[in-house]
């Protein structure tokens, strides 16, 4: 007889945000996120209590994926950040810090939930309008005629991930590789609707980062028993290629776990092998030089091919099938039982060995228009390599986003200070009208503006971890760090590098009160921002953060089933 357990009643929490325990946890999460923010962010090590893998990271994706949240509200906040980064690959920490600060500031300034929600909605719309508008002094157009802004975007992403452990020279190297890989993945002169190519990433552990490089085409492990002499014997390309997605192992495993009833005189294994050899004959007759298979190839067939000077790549794996098909223009053959159709053959321009650090790889050179490249990343140990691989993939995605919206935003906290200044200034004179239109009181609206802008400032402040003061200039509204040891060689610039310091540039600490002003748009400058953030990612993060903050503030009751 089954025992019936009495169901426990659900745990209810009234006004969760006034619970000090929950507030403490929110503050802790915000602290974790803001201490990880930026190039000098502190790394986090994540262990579990039974030993095993230790993760060192400062990225929101890796952090939030592995940290279990105990509170339903925090869980919701965490998943929303993860879903944002899944779509945009960047600005996860920005979103998290801004959202949590907004929640905390609303509590701190004691703004009514309804008034806060209405005001924040309005303010974020103003931000959208400002950032999307033509007169936005803060947006930078991505110039596709040179790769400077692409490299700057990639570099900003890498520098903000300190767990990659790169020095400035290595950072420069990797960012140009990412830009290069991105450019390789854009198909040129293909008619009709263009489709992105692909970048295959290979990680090699224990090599210096400077050994990393990017190759057009595909790099695969060198097949067993393939010698340099074999390649020489092949001569020069292009080579005819065939690729199989079906197993050519010659056993009947594909049929599944069934009883086989075999007629007398029939030997299925033998039949299959004969079929494979017949296939081999056809392939050799059709002058194929490279024979690839996703799965295993029967040893006898391999031997047959070697005798006829055909290079065999087996166990290509599902992940490499698509790039292989794209690079060669071949079509995957699904069955060994029928002859290979003529349209299924493809071409590669050449084959050569490529030694990357300790590993020897076979390089398949693509025909001119294939948008496939291989990024070989080297790093000193596994953890750093893992972080570097993830960062590079994300950075490439961010570069792709620029094709949809060809803009970038100044990084280094300057966008946040600019936005905050703009919002404060905009709402200085019109607060009464706006508040009336929203149906909130004037003072409430002003408080909400203050909470919103100081949350933006808080993000800019989170970039600094070494106790230096964050400043804002009162002309352009960019963010500055007071230099304790002024460098003599270079003139100091603002966080993003757009504005150069002048003696008459008035600055004030970021979190102090100052008069409102409209930020001056810096025109006619030769300076290019050194640090750029993704426009699409930041815009989405801003919107989603406000929406989530409004939602969390609106939660009046939590019912938690503990059965």
């Amino acid at each position: 007889m089954s025992r019936i357990c009495k169901r426990k009643p659900a745990v209810c929490t009234d006004e969760p945000l006034s619970d000090s325990n929950i507030c403490q946890k929110i503050a802790l999460l915000r602290n974790i996120l803001s201490t990880s923010y930026g190039p000098t962010g502190r790394l986090k090590q994540i262990h579990n209590n039974v030993g095993g893998h230790v993760l060192t990271t400062s990225t929101s994706t890796a952090l939030l994926k592995r940290v279990d949240m105990s509170e339903p509200l925090l869980k919701l906040i965490s998943t929303s950040v993860q879903h944002h980064t899944a779509c945009y690959s960047d600005c996860g920490l920005f979103m998290g810090i801004f959202m949590l600060r907004l929640i905390e500031n609303t509590q701190k300034y004691n703004v009514r939930t309804v008034a806060a929600a209405k005001s924040y909605k309005r303010l974020v719309e103003e931000c959208n309008m400002y950032l999307k508008g033509d007169s936005c002094g803060c947006k930078v157009s991505v110039d596709f005629s040179s790769c400077d802004s692409l490299v700057a975007l990639a570099r900003s992403m890498i520098t903000s991930k300190p767990a990659c452990m790169l020095n400035s020279r290595e950072t420069q190297h990797i960012s140009s590789l990412i830009a290069q890989a991105f450019l390789y993945s854009i198909p040129c002169n293909s008619p009709g609707v263009a489709c992105f190519g692909r970048t295959v990433t290979i990680g090699i552990e224990g090599q210096p980062v400077s050994d990393s490089s990017v190759f057009p085409g595909l790099l695969v492990d060198v097949p067993e028993m393939l010698q340099l002499a074999d390649l020489k014997r092949l001569g020069s390309g292009p080579f005819k290629v065939v690729v199989f997605s079906a197993s050519l192992s010659g056993d009947m495993s594909e049929v599944g776990d069934v009883i086989l009833e075999i007629h007398r005189g029939v030997d299925p294994e033998f039949d299959l092998l004969q079929q494979l050899l017949k296939l081999g004959e056809q392939v050799v007759k059709d002058k194929v030089s490279l024979f690839a298979c996703q799965k295993v190839v029967h040893p006898v067939l391999q031997h047959y091919f070697r005798e006829h000077g055909v290079v065999v790549i087996e166990r290509l794996g599902l992940a490499l099938m698509e790039p292989f098909i794209q690079i060669s223009g071949a079509q995957a053959v699904a069955s060994p039982c029928s002859p290979v159709p003529a349209e299924a053959y493809g071409l590669v321009r050449g084959l050569c060995f490529q030694s990357c650090g300790s590993r020897e790889l076979l390089h398949l050179l693509p025909p001119k228009d294939a948008a496939i490249s291989t990024l070989v990343l080297c790093h000193r140990n596994e953890t750093m390599l893992e972080e570097l691989k993830m960062t590079c993939q994300r950075a490439e995605h961010v570069l792709r986003l620029t094709l949809r919206e060809p803009y970038a935003l100044p990084g280094g906290g300057c966008t946040e200070t600019l936005l905050a200044t703009h919002i404060t200034h905009m709402n200085q004179s019109t607060a009464t009208i706006t508040a009336a239109a929203l149906g909130v009181s004037h003072s409430e609206f002003l408080m909400a503006v203050k909470a919103f802008c100081s949350s933006l400032h808080a993000v800019a402040l989170s970039l600094e971890h070494d106790g230096q003061d964050c400043l804002i200039d009162l002309t352009y509204a960019h963010r500055w760090v007071s230099d304790i040891y002024p460098r003599t060689s270079a003139r100091q610039t603002c966080g993003c590098g757009l504005v150069e310091d002048r003696s008459d540039l008035e600055k004030t600490p970021l979190n102090s009160a100052c008069h409102t002003f409209s930020p001056v748009f810096l025109e006619n400058t030769d300076n290019q921002p050194r640090i750029l953030d993704s426009f699409s990612a930041k815009l989405n993060a801003l919107n989603v953060a406000v929406e989530m903050a409004n939602f969390v503030l609106d939660v009046k009751y939590i019912i938690k089933d503990i059965n």
């Binding site: 069934v258 005189g265 039982c337």
Partner: protein
């Protein structure tokens, strides 16, 4: 049992679950109080049953009277007074009335806009009642949820979105023929169960291949360019599709395929079972929130509602609310349709304008904010011809709990609104063309017309609650059994029984 009743009510009207509990509780409280006042003791079993029957009778008779003679005229007057001159805006206001309070403040406006757009794009001069019923019954297939984006990114896109990417994709121009498949093209051996044996004969390799070849060749003959399959197809089919420039989409939800073949008037092929041939206007790929999905353009201009939210939990809420909107509209439009005379119904179709205009003029909608409850309360107490004053009073008093809860944050505002309503009503009795302030009275901040709610939904709510109360009061005793009951499709869990028992004791103690 109460939950069952409530869910049945919510399923029918898509609205009023919270009011259901409030009203039921208020009625039970009212019954308890009346026992204290009149008899000092508690209701006896037969007495309770009698009361339950009488209440139900009041619900049947007086409610209809009230709706016809009081609420409907008031509602149509109210609507003609206010600025709902454009019939199109009725739908907006109904949706707004439903959404507000169900999603966060900033999101209601966006969601309302998208839902209205969706309705108008799907309807396109077709019968409005049918459109709503179509959206309502196929909602799960007509929307695509996307996480990671703000709710403001929600949109309506043309075509039917399938949340899968094409297995084989080729650029296709113009209308194309598509074949809908529910089975694999390959040899099907895994369907028969565990005890299968395969007979391996001479030429077995070629035989299986050639059967498939023949099937595929017949496809090429019928000019099919797109394959839509609910199951995975063998690799050789994928290869064949690639070679012959045929787009292939696998793992499509079979319900979605059914819908597609229904709306595109599919031609069912006779020879292989379960295959349909449809004509598609176009095939596309769409990128939604980091996923690549397939989009199928049907001849009938199907549209898909793309609902976005930052996190899955919020998304569920948005989806539920959107689905509820169409349940509510369906209830409203069905009630309206059955109320118009049969002669009118013979007219071919009911356009969007006709439907919403008709509902408005016919007094099918009222401003939100407890107006229905005030009106019904007033009618039940003040009309002389009521046959059962005790029950009328019970129901009337209980009804007020809904607006009272609505303005629970401020008791004064409840009283203000009630006074305002009563003075309006007096004016209405005195003059022929009164200046009705009510409805605008409590949205002082905005000059907009107030949101609307459906009268029929409210009526159904009262009926459902009275039916539930009747069932509850008629329970004589509860027997606990150790084995699960298998009398009908609904089995009561132990928890429900305990709850029922609690209710019983509660009403017995009165």
């Amino acid at each position: 049992m109460v939950l069952d009743c409530m869910c049945a009510h919510a399923k029918a009207t898509g609205d009023g679950t919270k009011s259901f509990i409030l009203l039921l509780a208020a009625l039970l409280r009212g019954i308890q109080n009346s026992a204290h006042m009149h008899r000092k003791g508690s209701w006896t079993g037969p007495g309770l049953r009698n009361l339950a029957n009488r209440l139900l009778a009041v619900g049947r008779k007086e409610l209809d009277e009230a709706i016809i003679h009081k609420i409907t005229p008031y509602a149509s007057l109210c609507c003609s007074r206010h600025s709902y001159k454009r019939e199109g805006s009725i739908l907006d206001l109904l949706i707004a009335g439903y959404i507000s309070g169900r999603v966060a403040i900033g999101q209601a406006e966006i969601l309302k806009r998208v839902l209205c757009e969706f309705y108008h794009k799907v309807s396109r001069d077709q019968d409005a009642v049918e459109t709503i019923s179509f959206i309502h019954s196929h909602f799960s297939l007509l929307h695509t949820p996307v996480t990671g984006l703000p709710i403001g990114s929600s949109e309506v896109i043309e075509g039917l979105v399938v949340t899968r990417d094409w297995s084989v994709w080729t650029e296709l121009q113009g209308p194309v023929k598509a074949l809908i498949l529910y089975e694999s093209f390959g040899p099907t051996i895994d369907t028969a169960g565990d005890n299968i044996s395969i007979c391996v004969q001479q030429d077995w390799l070629h035989r299986t291949e050639s059967i498939m070849k023949q099937k595929l060749l017949s496809l090429l003959d019928s000019q099919v360019h797109v394959l839509l399959s609910s199951v995975k197809q063998p690799e050789s089919v994928v290869q064949w599709a690639r070679l012959n420039h045929i787009a292939l989409l696998e793992f499509v939800d079979s319900a979605q395929l059914d819908l597609l073949s229904n709306i595109s008037a599919a031609e069912t092929l006779s020879h292989p079972p379960l295959q349909h041939l449809v004509t598609l206007k176009y095939c596309r790929r769409v990128q939604l929130g980091g996923h690549r999905y397939a989009c199928l353009g049907t001849v009938l201009h199907t549209h898909t509602l793309v609902l976005c939210a930052p996190a899955p939990g919020l998304l569920d809420q948005t989806v539920c609310v959107s689905q509820g909107v169409f349940a509510m509209l369906q209830h409203l439009s069905r009630t309206f349709q059955s109320s118009i005379p049969a002669a009118d119904q013979s007219q071919s179709t009911l356009s969007t304008q006709d439907l919403w205009g008709g509902i408005m003029c016919g007094g099918g909608v009222l401003p939100v904010g407890g107006l229905f409850e005030f009106l019904l309360h007033h009618f039940l107490l003040n009309e002389r011809n009521c046959g059962d004053p005790e029950c009328c009073r019970l129901l009337a008093e209980a009804l007020l709990c809904v607006p009272r809860t609505l303005y629970s944050h401020n008791q004064r505002s409840f009283l203000n609104i009630q006074t305002c309503f009563l003075s309006d009503l007096k004016q209405l009795d005195r003059a022929k063309s009164p200046d009705l302030k009510f409805g605008l009275g409590f949205s002082e901040s905005s000059e907009l017309a107030p949101c609307l709610e459906s009268v029929s939904g409210k009526q159904q709510l009262v009926v459902s609650v009275l039916q539930c109360l009747h069932r509850l009061l008629c329970v004589g005793a509860i027997l606990h059994t150790r084995s699960p009951l298998r009398t009908g499709p609904q089995t009561h869990s132990e928890e429900d029984e305990e709850e029922e028992e609690g209710m019983k004791e509660h009403s017995n103690s009165t």
